[in-house]
Amino acid sequence: MECITDQSRPALARGARLSNDKQTGEPMLLFPEGVVHLSTTAHAILQQCDGQATVSSILSALTGEFDADPAVLREDILECLSHLQGRKLVVIT
């Protein structure tokens, strides 16, 4: 599996689709046979994963939005993407 770096361009795997749970209003990622409920941060990260944007550009886009420490946010992004890559829900293009 390809390691995710600042230059990686992540995208949702085919069949994975962002949606909102009508019951709770919370964001989620739907895929064949399953669902992952997402935190606000994870949702914001995945919304940027279009296969074009690099991890570092996702980081700069979200740093403003969340008013967060970039070093911490970078770790969050890498951890979130690696976890979902392990579950085959995110791919590196």
Partner: protein
């Protein structure tokens, strides 16, 4: 405990071009007309309102319904993730493209074997070559592809080749599901149940392939609970996460629940899905743990396996409300063990296959199918 349906299995029709003897459709079909397009659209909308996230379009063969596109579209509009569970017979390129456009999310294609003549004999139809073609086309259109193979005595010896086939077709997911003995499969179970040795060997092959293909293709190997000490957590609990609507509109807590004689099911033509989920006798009958007899009632696993499968208890003991005989603690365990013992004659693969395929009851279609 909270009860919320996450998955709606929409069995659109019992009509099917295949005649697989392991089918878990009921071997006596319920009488009545199939639901109309308008009925299904309403059901799909109501399902989304009560919490459903996934809709599985199944059957029979869902492609036999000419309104499938419209129903997929309704699922998409309702925010549901849709899966087409198909034999692939009838899945032309143009039909697949239309389904894609309507918002279909993923496709699951069944295969009977890796090798055409065996596959077609099991299916009771000329199907294998068309399935291969459809699987390649589906992938090319960008659908995630799941290959599902129901395993039994006649094909379990081909497991390595079956895994190879799924790799060759670039499937994202391979379900190697040992036959569940309900409906037609129950009727044929003496001919379908693999020997213990076959299961052990298949499990080894599946685990090795799982490790080898990790990160590339997900492999699910479901062992038959006839060989297990603990029952399966059927439906993750009765009326807890799952609902089936059958072709005539009866709503079932599990796809094979019509095996339970004496349990009446409410119909979407006369009741809302919400009422049926929350209030109906059928959905509440085995919900939670209150209904449980001993040894389930006092068992530490009662909320792990939920007492196993009600349909299996009904089929094997005649009583749906007792512990599933797949549990080693069941007072009726002996019935299952005796049956399993009777299936252990060591047979060379070929004679076993021949005798099985000569004697099984191939699945028939409903006589009154429109």
């Amino acid at each position: 405990m909270n009860y919320r349906p996450y998955l709606l299995l929409a069995e659109l029709t019992h009509r099917c071009p295949l005649h697989c003897p392991y089918c878990s459709n009921p071997s006596s079909y319920p009488g009545g007309d199939e639901l109309s397009t308008a009925d299904w659209r309403r059901v799909i909308g109501e399902a989304a309102e009560i919490g459903v996230l996934h809709a599985g379009f199944s059957g029979g063969e869902p492609l036999q319904r000419s309104d499938l596109n419209e129903l997929v579209s309704a699922a998409r509009d309702a925010g549901l993730y849709s899966n087409l569970i198909t034999s692939a017979i009838g899945l032309s390129q143009s039909r697949a493209e239309e389904l894609k456009k309507a918002g279909l999310d993923c496709v699951q294609i069944s295969f009977q074997a890796d090798e055409p003549s065996l596959a077609d004999r099991i299916a009771g139809a000329t199907a294998h070559a068309r399935k291969l073609e459809a699987a390649r086309m589906v992938s090319k259109l960008g659908f995630p592809l799941t290959i599902n193979v129901v395993l039994h005595r006649a094909n379990i010896g081909r497991l390595e080749h079956l895994i190879g086939l799924a790799e060759e077709l670039s499937a994202e997911r391979l379900e190697l599901a040992n036959t569940q003995y309900y409906g037609w499969a129950y009727r044929n179970r003496g001919l379908l149940l693999p020997t213990r040795e076959q299961i052990t060997q298949a499990d080894r092959i599946a685990q090795t392939a799982k490790a080898r293909l990790a990160g590339k293709m997900e492999i699910l190997f479901v062992t038959p609970d006839y060989y297990s000490e603990r029952p399966k957590p059927c439906m993750n609990g009765w009326g807890r996460r799952f609902m089936t609507v059958n072709p005539i509109g009866d709503v079932l807590p599990c796809p094979t629940a019509s095996e339970i004689r004496g349990l009446a099911f409410d119909n979407v033509r006369t009741r809302s899905l919400s009422w049926i989920w929350n209030e109906s006798e059928s959905f509440n009958r085995f919900r939670g743990t209150e209904w449980m007899p001993e040894p389930c009632r006092g068992c530490e696993f009662r909320e792990v396996d939920f007492g196993g499968c009600r349909c299996q208890a009904a089929l094997i003991t005649g009583q749906p409300g007792v512990t599933d005989p797949a549990c080693s603690l069941s007072p009726y365990r002996e019935k299952l063990v005796a049956f399993v013992q009777s299936c252990q004659q060591p047979q060379a693969p070929d004679p076993a296959l021949e005798s099985a395929l000569n004697a099984v009851a191939f699945r028939q279609n409903p006589l009154d199918a429109p």
